[in-house]
Amino acid sequence: MKKKMISVLLCAAMVSGLLAGCGGKSEDKGKDGKEKISMWVPALDDAVEENWTPLLEKFEKENNCEIDMEVLPWENYEEKWATGAASQDLPDIGYMYAEMFPTYIDSGAVADMSEYITDEDKEEYLYLDHGYMMDGQYGFPVVTGVPFVLYYNEDILNELGEQPPETWEDFKRICEKATKDTDGDGKIDQYGYAVGFNNGSMNMLYLLNAYFYSLLWQSGTDIYNDDLKSVKFNDEAGVEAAEFFLSLKPYMPENFMSLAAEDAFSTIFGQGKAAFGVTRSSSIQEGLFKESYPNLNWNYVTSLKNKDYGTFGATDCMTLSSQAENPELCMKLIKYITGSEFMTEYHKIASGAPLTKSEPYQGDEKMERIVTEDRDKYRPLQVGPCGSDILTNLASELQAMMEGKKDAKTAMDDAAEYGDAALEEYWADKE
């Protein structure tokens, strides 16, 4: 009997535990009745919680509040936001990247911060315009200035008697000359352009970030038309960009369709087997490359020029929830995090480009021109409705083109047809 009683009690404890697990949202007041601000950020560096907490303590003291920071892994960052939104449990402020914004702007989950931005802010914050999207200031840039750039192997270029490329013609010519069999075994072992076009575990959009947006912008077009009601990447300039990318295929590794972009960079360009490779830059690139590729003699071109300059430089932002209890305090925190005092200290630990005029540049000298003379050569993604859907499909069509299943015009037209249909449905819903 005793045993049975214990069993039943244990079962009851389990059930109550189960029910308690389905608890509601946490309180907005923290310890000692202090205002509580919840914040979600991804793993921006290896120890973001340890790095940010001491820097946030000063804000907490000065404003008598408590910051509840949750660091989420990149892999399911969007999922966490989506499920949080579904359960009405979003943070007061959070980190978002461009592709995430449209859905949350549309649903009114994030607030337009325009009213909180002063003339001094406009003067001080270098990239504020990158957070202006879909007719509002929905983002406050927190990570930027690390665009995808074209790295080149100086030894290969010197051997070919070539200068760093400036135009598409230069680039293609050098690629052609660099692609060759260097050891005489009849097989090509040095390539012009180290491309990996298999998305693998990387987001499909990474392929566009690394290889295609730059060509699209350099040829003078963009993703959407200005009214965001249709796409324009299949116009003459867009097709020219696709054709140019396709024309580089002979200078890519034979297995580029099997290689992930980062693998192509590290195993081919990094090992000195290609003249060019593309990856995201870092303000401490010299140290990173020295460690990973000690024998590589490298330099970089921020952007080539065709009709225009252009390469993808993500601008990830802090955003304000429209449900925040105290938006003024939340905005103060956003400005504090992105401000000079916080970021100067943080960028000592984790590299990054200065976000404000008063923040000193702390990176490598070699990389500094990205945030000075080349600052206008990179841009964030044009934010528009159905972004992920349209762009993922564009990446798939480009894969079909590179595989030889479609020509450039057909691939771009098919991607545009899909995109226009998605946008038509989206706008029809709005009406």
Binding site: S7, V8, T392
Partner: protein
């Protein structure tokens, strides 16, 4: 006192089953019901759902990408299930014959290791091995005329490659199930067959296979369900590419929910998959019943 004891005795079983019943009701039955309800709605996880009637299901009929995902899922099932079951029976028989030898034990453990490995890890390792820059792997496969560097990059071979890796990863699981059934077959059957002059093949065909039939039917069913739900291994190896050639239904539903904000439609896709699995379950139940009556 006696009455009280009787009362406790009568309600105790309900207490024992209550936790698991609550878990099942909350996470299985409720989610199934919610999925059916939301599949008739326009729902993006952010805004309140709007009733759409049969729109999401009508869309299933015209959505070419969904048809592609359905086709790919079925292709994977067709490639994976027969091979997985045949290999599992074959290896179970071979290992059962050497069950007490060291080689048998090592083989059993080696075949089972991929089963307990994380799919994401297996996917990443295979992707690295198949990047064409590993001379040992490249050399081995080139002996069969296969260029490993191209396998995941072509929409023709990518799906075959991921299917074969799924077979490699999972057949050990079915092999262990089959081994359990094989050990239940009395040795006296084989001894009697030997006395009657039955050879290895005859013993396999007339004793092993018939007695293993219920286990094989179970293997087929589980293998079908697992292959229809394939996601993580493919996600890490190809992400559904190149050009959607390895996009499966589960992956499509995932993208629709978390990338495109079409959770209602994703639930319709998931429900279609559920119906396919359910009909196969019915079929399997029929087989099992017939089998039981034959035995």
């Amino acid at each position: 006192m006696k009455k009280q004891r009787k009362f406790w005795r009568s309600i105790a079983p309900y207490g024992y089953v209550m936790p698991i019943s609550l878990i099942l009701l909350t996470f299985v039955v409720a989610s199934l019901v919610i999925s059916v309800i939301f599949s008739f709605m326009k729902y993006n996880l952010l805004l309140p759902p709007e009733f759409l009637g049969l729109e999401n299901y009508k869309r299933l009929l015209t959505d070419e990408k969904m048809h592609l995902a359905l086709g790919n899922t079925l292709k994977i099932m067709i490639m994976v299930v027969p091979l997985q079951v045949v290999l599992s029976v074959l290896f179970a028989t071979l290992i059962a014959a050497r069950k007490n030898s060291l080689a048998g034990k090592i083989a059993k453990a080696a075949i089972f290791i991929p089963v307990i490995s994380s799919s994401a890890v297996v996917g990443t390792v295979w992707k690295t091995m198949l990047n064409g820059r590993n001379p040992v792997i490249q050399g081995f496969f080139s002996a069969f005329g296969i260029d490993t560097g191209m396998l995941l990059g072509s929409s023709t071979t990518a799906i075959i490659t991921v299917a074969m890796i799924m077979v490699w990863k999972n057949f050990g699981y079915y092999m262990v199930l089959n081994l359990a059934s094989l050990t239940a077959i009395p040795d006296s059957y084989y001894e009697a067959a030997k006395v009657d002059g039955g050879g290895v093949m005859q013993r396999f065909i007339h004793i092993t296979l018939p007695l293993l039939k219920p286990a094989i039917i179970m293997d087929v069913f589980l293998s079908v369900v697992m292959s229809l739900q394939s996601f993580d291994l493919i996600y890490t190896m190809t992400g559904g590419g190149p050009s959607n050639s390895t996009l499966t239904m589960v992956m499509y539903a995932y993208d629709q929910t978390f990338q495109n904000g079409k959770a209602g439609y994703a639930m319709a896709v998931s429900n279609l998959l559920f119906l396919i699995v359910l009909s196969l379950l019915m079929l399997q139940k029929g087989f099992m019943k017939r089998e039981a009556s034959e035995i």
